[in-house]
């Protein structure tokens, strides 16, 4: 067993323990705090899995905004949960057991963790990683004959940051070094647009549902 796996499993056990604590602790204030800690440890786990962007987002969202939101809500709803009738909900355990067993059954045919030959790494992702997905015909390059070769690669050795000699961008021939950003903003830019819309919707829902009415329309 490698050290990587050991660190991983250690963190994951901690996360699972924290998750159980969040669910089971009776004080909602405690649950909010534990949920923040849970998110921070989760961010740590994601760093060990090399998902730095996800870790960054989780730290900002889970430990930041969600906690603010929860504490704000607790001001309204009070900080304690009513004592449950039973400590353990058997019906829940049965449902969860069956679902979980089924999911585990599904993992048995999956490629091993970290297998470089897994389809998810070989089927379509190679060209995403190398940023060599050419555009379809019909782009602006073809209609402006003066541009040479523009349709071949999407990126060229210039960037908004400028062609300053100190700028490291040129070392990557103008490609975007952060692949996650490149996938997010270009190939899957359409999803990202709706991600922005979802955030906007969340803000508007908060305003629709929580804003006090002005005095003149009350």
């Amino acid at each position: 067993m490698s050290e990587q796996l050991l660190v991983d499993l250690g963190l994951l056990s901690l996360i699972a323990a924290l998750a159980i604590a969040v669910i089971e602790v009776r004080s909602l204030f405690g649950a909010a705090m534990l949920a923040g800690i849970y998110s921070l440890v989760m961010a740590l786990e994601w760093t060990t899995l090399h998902a730095v962007d996800v870790a960054f987002t989780e730290a900002a969202v889970g430990a930041g905004i969600s906690t603010v939101l929860l504490i704000g809500a607790l001001v309204h709803v009070g900080r304690d949960e009513k004592k449950p009738r039973r400590r353990v909900d058997l019906r829940g355990l049965v449902v969860v057991g069956i679902t979980g067993a089924f999911l585990v059954y599904g993992t048995l045919d999956m490629p091993a963790f970290g297998d470089p030959q897994a389809p998810v790494h070989t089927h379509r992702a190679v060209r995403l990683v190398e940023q060599q997905v050419g555009k379809l015909p019909g782009g602006p390059g073809e209609r402006h004959a003066a541009v040479e070769n523009a349709a071949d690669t999407a990126f060229e050795p210039t960037s908004v940051v400028g062609s300053d000699p100190l700028d490291l961008v040129d070392d990557f021939a103008g490609h975007v070094p952060n692949m996650v950003t490149s996938v997010l903003a270009t190939y899957r830019g359409y999803d990202t647009m709706f991600e922005t819309v979802v955030i906007l919707i969340a803000g508007m829902s908060m305003m629709l549902l929580l804003q006090r009415r002005r005095k003149d329309v009350r």
Binding site: Y105, Y187, R188, D191
Partner: protein, 528 residues
């Protein structure tokens, strides 16, 4: 610009929905929303003619090849659903003006109509997209807006809030199940494009023995069932439909679950393929054989019967309609699960017919709420004298629910029953007829109160509902009658879509269809 129609279908309401937040007042946001929905309807009709003339229309976002980027593909199945959503969106927006003005505080209208348009964006986007993850994101766009729209019913009925939170929790669990299913599929296929995924699954050695694919299928199946409110997992639906603002009830009853059913058709028939879904995936345990089609038929039939009985026990008009919705969803699912051309045609044409009937009925219920301020059955007494046009709309719509001849409901029932006979499933046909009987009973309860009970002595004198609301109600209810008499065009479109569903998977793989798929003209039996 004309090549851009597929993306304009989504981008026009998106831009309009965002810009709507800049408007103020009551009238302006509504006019804005009405113009937008009219434009969307225009684009949808344009696309219909393009699909009929040229076959499937594709569109690549950002000009990236579809295997790497996100693309749209509009074929005979989704153009049908797009038309339903665009048309209902247009009519309900027209209806919404006075109904919403009476139910929503007047300084919130711009936000409300913004949500309204974004809900349409989500529903239309799910329908035309060709990318699984895009489906998930747009599903959440539509769900989040609908949660909020339902919760806005709080000013009239505080049960809207509990209905909304239940919808949030159950709906999000359903969406998460879909996300798990997508993840399992991504694991074994490495792609997110629907067609690419279909090819990759078919290329696996024995996909039905691949445990990951089977579990992914099951989770998608459960998640989609939640979203389309199939019987055992429909718990979120009745209260959400009952307590939402009237215009919102009409909109979501006529579109949201229909889009859920469309997604099920897309996944079951296009991604996994009818052979995999309905033939390969059966296991025999002891003397029982479990197959996907069997499970779907069981859930749908039980749903029709159980919710029929529940609808009879309700005391409020919108709750009766809501429970009846779950039963009607059962009819559509029966159509899918029969896997023959007649059944599938019946199921798909029922998407439209039920959207018209139930949309019209919820609008009529909204008219009642608008004038009476209540929708409880006993308050409806003598409605035929007090609001004769609204009462007539409820009567005609109710006949459609029963499946009375000369209404659209009859056409769909006809195809469903003949599909059931074709598949040799007598019990299913019996359930379809029993469902109609139950519908007769719960519709009769309403009609009896409206027509054969004298209004109470102390009843407040009410006028008929405003003209704009009545016209919209009658457009839908009347439309259902017209489509019951002149059913040829819609049945032809639905038949086209059914054929596309049955043959689409083989087309993607570039194979001759393995299942014997009948020509719509010569209706043969499909080997299930």
């Amino acid at each position: 610009m004309i090549d851009q129609a597929p993306v304009l279908l989504v981008v026009v309401p998106l831009l309009a929905g965002i810009c709507c937040l800049f408007l103020r007042g009551q009238l302006l946001p509504w006019i804005w929303a009405q113009i937008t929905t009219l434009a969307v309807l225009g684009i949808a009709i344009h696309l219909l003619f393009r699909v009929l003339n040229e076959g499937a229309v594709t569109y690549a976002m950002g000009n990236w090849p579809q295997e790497w980027g996100i693309s749209y593909k509009i074929d005979a199945i989704n153009i049908f659903v797009v038309l339903i959503v665009a048309f209902i969106g247009c009519v309900t927006t027209c209806y919404a003006r006075q109904s919403i003005a009476s139910e929503i505080p007047r300084d919130r209208h711009h936000q409300f109509y913004s949500m309204w348009l974004l809900a349409l964006v989500g529903l239309l986007g799910i329908t035309v997209t060709n990318d699984v993850f895009n489906i998930y994101v747009l599903l959440e766009v539509s769900s989040l807006t609908i949660y909020t729209l339902v919760a806005m019913g709080k000013t009239r009925d505080k049960r809207a809030l509990t209905a909304a939170i239940r919808y949030v929790i159950i709906g999000s669990v359903g969406a998460s199940f879909i996300l798990v299913g997508i993840g399992y599929l991504l694991m074994v296929t490495g792609t997110l494009n629907l067609e690419d995924m279909a090819r990759a699954i078919a290329a696996l050695p024995e996909p039905e023995r691949n445990r990951t694919v089977v579990v992914a299928f099951a989770f998608l199946f459960v998640g989609l069932s939640v979203k389309m409110a199939l019987w055992p997992v429909h718990m979120w639906l009745p209260n959400a439909y009952g307590a939402a603002p009237s215009a919102v009830s009409a909109l979501i009853a006529a579109t949201a679950t229909k889009v859920g059913i469309y997604m099920a058709v897309r996944f079951l028939f296009t991604v996994f393929g009818p052979d995999f879904t309905f033939l390969s995936l059966s296991t025999t345990v002891g003397q029982f054989t479990f197959s996907c089609s069997g499970i779907l038929l069981t859930c749908a039939c039980l749903g029709v019967l159980v919710t029929g009985i529940q609808a009879m026990q309700q005391r409020e008009l919108k709750w009766i309609l809501a429970y009846s919705s779950v039963g009607q969803i059962g009819y559509m699912v029966i159509g899918l699960a029969l896997v023959n051309h007649a059944g599938l045609t019946g199921g798909i044409v029922h998407l439209l017919n039920h959207a018209l009937i139930k949309g019209g009925l919820f609008m009529a219920a909204g008219c009642v709420v608008f004038r009476l301020g209540s929708q409880r059955l006993e308050d409806l007494a003598g409605l035929s004298k007090r609001m004769p046009i609204t009462a007539a709309a409820i009567l005609v719509g109710g006949l459609g629910l029963i499946g009375f001849p000369l209404t659209a409901g009859f056409i769909s029932k006809w195809y469903l029953v003949s599909g059931a006979f074709e598949a040799g499933l007598w019990p299913v046909a019996a359930v379809l007829l029993t469902g109609s009987l139950f519908a007769l009973i719960y519709v009769w309860r309403v009609v009896e109160v409206m027509y054969f009970t004298a209004p109470p002595e102390n009843a407040v004198k009410v006028r008929e509902a405003p003209l704009s609301m009545l016209i919209c109600t009658w457009i839908l209810v009347g439309g259902s009658v017209v489509l019951g008499i002149f059913a040829q065009p819609t049945v032809a479109l639905a038949g086209h879509a059914a054929k596309q569903a049955l043959t689409g998977h083989a087309q993607i793989l570039g194979l001759p269809p393995v299942t014997t798929v009948p020509d719509p003209a010569v209706q043969e039996e499909v080997v299930p």
